[in-house]
């Protein structure tokens, strides 16, 4: 599978939010470009705008200014309906809190986007089981989320995100609710997925130990990309120093 030339491009993106009576500028003109598949991280202190940026890339919100291109598609000016379809078919999103539907089984959670797309039941089932098998959860396909461990739930969420074979996978603090051992497994998984499927995986994190698995790190501070650098053999401590972030 060959990824398009620029998988993610952000130009001069700005975003403000209302907070009570005042307006807060979350992004003040962000420029970012990713041209090759791989595992990437966006790091920054609390309130830096990293989650806001991810939300915009995931078409969960619209920028106030600037351009956003994901997977070769300009999304900043798409109408509501097309944004919804974009989220459904073109990208995958993984959340810190897993965000599985508690009343659905693992298989039904994985195939939810396909159900929304009107895909026939047998076809959905085949797609879902294939993904669960690939992620080592075939034997848990009929279990509900409350019967799964945190790591298993997050893998189900990843499987859901990969259902329509997107070119971009966005992850918002995917290991925030997991223990360190499981977190390590999760980072390894994401890295391998990026390599095997030629995915662009863009992960928001504040953990240097997560970012060391990435190819490149973008550091965001006060609503702007302050710097970016290749990880290339850095350890967590060095990475933390580069990013000037305090350990949690």
């Amino acid at each position: 599978m060959t990824a398009p030339a620029a998988t993610v491009r952000v130009r001069g993106v700005k975003k403000e939010y209302a907070l009570g009576d005042r307006r807060v500028a979350a992004l003040r003109g962000v420029d970012l470009e990713i041209t090759e598949p791989g595992f990437y991280a966006i790091m920054g202190p609390s309130g830096s705008g990293k989650s806001t940026l991810l939300h915009l890339l995931a078409a969960l919100d619209r920028p106030d200014a600037g351009e956003i291109e994901v997977g070769g598609e300009r999304i900043d000016q798409l109408p509501e309906r097309d944004l919804t379809l974009f989220r459904r078919r073109r990208i995958g999103i993984v959340f810190q809190q897993f965000n599985l539907i508690s009343t659905l089984s693992a298989l039904d959670n994985v195939t939810l986007p396909a159900m929304l797309d009107g895909v026939a039941a047998h076809e959905r089932q085949a797609m879902g089981l294939k993904l669960l098998h690939a992620l080592g959860l075939h034997h848990r396909s009929s279990h509900r989320p409350d019967a799964l461990s945190g790591g298993e739930q997050q893998r189900v969420a990843i499987a859901r995100a990969l259902l329509f074979e997107p070119s971009v996978l966005l992850a918002d603090e995917p290991t925030g609710n997991l223990d360190s051992h499981t977190s390590q497994q999760m980072w390894t998984l994401l890295k391998s997925l990026a390599a095997e499927r030629r995915l662009t995986v863009l992960m928001v994190t504040h953990e240097p130990s997560a970012a060391v698995h990435c190819r490149r790190v973008f550091v965001i501070r006060d609503g702007r990309i302050e710097t970016s650098f290749d990880v290339d053999g850095l350890d967590a401590a060095e990475l933390a120093t580069r990013t000037q972030l305090a350990r949690r």
Partner: protein, 861 residues
């Protein structure tokens, strides 16, 4: 299966108890509507049965004012009128009957009787009045006849006997089929028989002639308008007029009951839809994160909107499937409990069943609209974690504005001039908008309750200052809608009791007449009057004289070229008569009329005399015979529903027929003085309170042989029992609606608590005791109940005002708005108790888990 259906199914499967509650709300609403419709139909059936036995079922009639005959061709003309459901012709005459075997009495005299004969169409006649027999069976053959007890006695005849009509020419053979049940007035009435009209035509020589046509109009036809529209279609010599039953107003009351049913159905289904909207809104709020996630992975707004609507539709259809059979069962239970008040039996109303199904679907779909809108507006960003946000103040003002607009819409619709149009718009647009308006106004009322009453409750329940208020204000709309869902039961209670109390006092209470009546067709002599008056159990009497007279020097009835015919002069003691009867004064007043009646210079006339004969108050009438004439002034015009009923009891229908057209009331003393008539046709008798009617009857008939005596108290008792029965049904419905709402609200409170577990967990984590949670939740329940009762009472009084106006406009019944204090207070207390009880499952759900479980469960939704 389309995605929206799957989303709906998933959504419904997620909360089985809440689903059961919503289906339960629709089920109970359907059951209530079916039960109410069948109860109203049963009450109407009972009313009809009772009234038919008194007044007959005819809505209108065509008669010859002077008991003449007319062509039978008119009957076919009448049957062709589009408004007519059924018409039957009658022929009055008299025959002489003997036994076919020329039977004789002990003295050797031929047994013979010359009864009044009424020729009828038996197959139609049963629709107009019940044919109750003391012996034998209904006629089956053309030559079958029915004798009254007097004729049967004169002929010494019984069922099965063969009789003959004595006439010039070949005798006509007849067979006695049975003996009619008829008030036995041996010294008063002539014997009477009923037979086939065609046989009577032949026997009496009145081929193709009738003396009256009785008409039943189709449902929904206004009888007064029908008569007005067709009066030009009957010959000038005949009169088309509403029957006594219509003039007594009972059909108007039955129409008013139908109005009541439509209103009650609307209220009930709106109530169910309020429960659905509140429950589904709570669900949407609770499952916002889930919906946001679904939006994140690509669900469109339309899919979420449709899923809620489909969920509402599923709830309503299942509710209807369960509720309609339940309603029929409830009807059976109601009938079993109230059977002695419903002599007409149980009636199943098809309209009620149709309305239940359509209403259920409407309730589910309408109830789902707002939650569907909410769901479709869930932002995907809310998947990132959102707690309940306090509503903005602007939302409160929007809610208030919307509520006032909806209530005002109903007020505007009420300005439509035409009463029928006004009722149509009220029932189908105004009432739903009114209810929706009051439902929404419950939110500002809840706000006021939180500001004003919450501090008081905090003090009473030992809650930290501001905690209850903040708790309610944090989810104001949810609390407000919950209160709104409670309002309908109170509203039904208040409105139905208000209208009923007024009906009982202002209308039914006016149907007043004497305790009993003495009657003798030959007249009750002054000596007999004195004997009756002096009986120990008699409290007061009022003799009524009856005298046909002529009107001179005035052409009345508007009939050109015809000499002034007789009018009927009724002589009465003005003071005693007014004390014993309730009259509606069409023109004039008792104060101005009484002195003129006492001095013999004035007369009062029946209301129809005034309106149809082109005379007015102050006109002079010269009354009398060829020998005696005197001029009188018209000093008043009256009608009386009570007297209409009473005159039927004695079968003095012909006199009443005349009364409706040409009755003139004058002082008894004037009848004695000017017309030298001292006998009374009838005496109204008021009895002492502890007198048994049966004993009084025997005593009078023994003291004055030949006088017939009949109880008026028994009639009023029956009328009151029917009215009380109807009120009992209304109250049952109201309390059922209260219970329905409380059941729904209990689950909504539970859902509210479930949605705020995180907050409760924080409260417990920082040191709040379980008791604090209990008092907080109870405080919220009390505030919800008080707000719901306030809104419900306001809506109830508003509905009572509308009901009173509808009764006046459409049914002609004088109804005021009264505040039914005791029922309202009972409703408030019941609502408080039910709401507090209904909140217990929620309280248990809040206090049972430990704080960490509450925190963990609440954070992740």
């Amino acid at each position: 299966m389309p995605p929206s259906w799957r989303l709906a199914r998933n959504w419904l499967a997620g909360k089985p108890w809440r689903l059961a509650m919503m289906i339960g709300a629709v089920t109970l609403a359907c059951a209530l509507v079916v039960a109410v419709s069948c109860a109203v139909a049963s009450v109407r059936q009972s009313l009809d049965k009772g009234l038919t036995s008194f007044l007959g079922a005819a809505d209108a009639r065509i008669i010859h004012p002077f008991n003449g005959r007319f062509s039978v061709d008119l009957l076919e003309t009448v049957r062709a009128w589009p408004e007519v459901a059924l018409a039957t012709g009658r022929l009055g005459s008299s025959l002489t009957l003997v036994h076919a075997d020329q039977r004789r009495n002990a003295e050797g005299e031929l047994l013979r009787s010359t009864p009044n004969a009424l020729g009828v169409e038996f197959e139609n006649e049963v629709e107009f009045r019940p044919m109750e027999l003391v012996e034998g069976q209904s006629p089956r053959e053309a030559n079958d006849i029915l004798l009254d007890p007097i004729a049967a006695e004169e002929l010494k005849a019984k069922a099965g006997d063969a009789l003959e009509v004595q006439r010039f020419g070949e005798p006509i053979a007849l067979r006695v089929a049975g003996v009619l049940q008829r008030p036995r007035l041996p010294a008063v009435q002539r014997p009477f028989i009923e037979l086939d009209r065609h046989v009577l035509e032949e026997a009496a020589g009145h081929t193709n002639e009738l003396t009256s046509i009785l008409i039943i109009v189709k449902d929904g036809v206004d009888v007064m308008r029908f008569c007005e529209a067709h009066k030009g279609d009957v010959p000038e010599t005949l009169s088309l007029e509403p029957s006594d039953r219509i003039r007594a107003g009972f059909d108007r009351q039955a129409d008013a009951s139908r109005l009541g049913f439509i209103v009650a159905s609307m209220l009930t289904f709106m109530s169910a839809s309020f429960i659905i909207v509140t429950a589904m809104t709570t669900s949407v709020a609770q499952r916002q994160r889930e919906m946001a996630v679904t939006r994140c992975v690509g669900a469109s707004r339309g899919q979420l909107f449709a899923s809620q609507i489909l969920a509402g539709l599923i709830i309503s259809i299942v509710g209807a499937i369960l509720g309609i059979p339940l309603g029929i069962g409830l009807t059976g239970l109601l009938y079993w409990y109230y059977s002695d008040m419903l002599p007409g039996g149980l009636a199943i109303a098809p309209l009620g069943l149709e309305l239940a199904l359509l209403g259920a679907i409407a309730a589910g779909v309408i109830g789902a609209l707002y939650p569907a809108w909410l769901a479709s507006h869930v932002s995907p960003l809310q998947a990132m974690g959102v707690q309940a946000r306090p509503p903005r103040r602007r939302s409160l003002f929007i809610a208030l504005g919307l509520a006032l607009a909806l209530i005002t819409l109903q007020l505007l619709l009420f300005q439509i001039p035409d009463p029928s149009q006004r009722f149509f718009w009220y029932a189908y647009v105004g009432l739903p908008s009114l209810q929706a308006g009051y439902f929404i106004v419950a939110v500002p009322v809840m706000f006021i309750a939180a500001i004003l009453i919450a501090p008081l409750l905090e003090a009473i329940m030992r809650l930290p200052a501001g905690m209850l208020r903040q708790s309610v204000l944090a989810t104001l709309f949810r609390h407000g809608f919950t209160a709104g869902a409670l309002m309908v039961g109170i509203a039904i209670l208040v409105s139905s009791w208000s209208n009923a109390q007024s009906l009982l006092n202002d209308w039914l209470g006016k149907i007043k007449f004497a305790d009993a009546f003495a009657y003798r067709a030959m007249g009750i002599t002054p000596q007999q009057q004195k004997i009756i008056n002096e009986l120990p159990f008699v409290e007061q009497t009022c003799p009524l004289a009856y005298l046909p007279v002529r009107v001179f020097d005035r052409q009345i009835f508007g009939i050109r070229g015809i000499a002034p015919p007789n009018v009927t002069l009724f002589g009465f003691d003005p003071d005693r008569f007014l004390a014993m009867n309730s009259l509606d004064w069409y023109a004039g007043s008792p104060e101005s009329a009484l002195p003129r009646l006492r001095d013999g210079s004035g007369v009062i006339v029946a209301d129809r005399f005034l309106t149809t004969q082109q005379v007015q108050l102050g006109d002079k009438l010269k009354l009398g015979s060829s020998r005696v004439q005197k001029e009188y002034e018209i000093v008043g015009s009256v009608s009386s529903a009570g007297l209409d009923i009473v005159t039927q009891l004695f079968g003095i229908r012909s006199q009443y027929t005349e009364m409706s057209i040409s009755a003139v009331f004058i002082a008894f003393s004037e009848v004695e003085r000017t017309f030298d008539n001292h006998d009374a046709l009838m005496m109204q008798v008021n009895l002492k309170p502890d007198v048994d009617d049966e004993q009084a009857t025997k005593a009078v008939e023994k003291a004055v042989p030949g006088v017939s005596f009949r109880s008026g108290r028994a009639i009023m008792k029956e009328i009151n029992e029917i009215a009380v029965g109807a009120m009992a049904v209304n109250t049952t419905v109201a309390f059922a609606a209260l219970i329905l709402a409380s059941l729904g609200v209990g689950n909504i409170i539970l859902a509210n608590i479930h949605g705020r577990r995180y907050e409760y967990g924080v409260l417990r984590a920082v040191g709040g005791q379980r008791g604090l949670l209990v008092r907080l939740i109870l405080g919220e329940a009390v505030l919800i109940a008080l707000a719901g009762a306030t809104v419900g009472t306001s809506l109830g009084l508003h509905l009572a005002a509308i009901g009173a106006a509808n009764y006046r406009d459409l049914a002609g019944l004088p109804v005021r708005v009264v505040v039914p204090w005791l029922p309202t207070l009972s409703g408030w207390l019941a609502l408080l108790a039910l709401t507090v009880l209904a909140s217990w499952p929620g309280i248990r759900a809040a206090i049972k888990p430990n704080p960490s479980a509450l925190l963990a469960g609440g954070r992740h939704g």
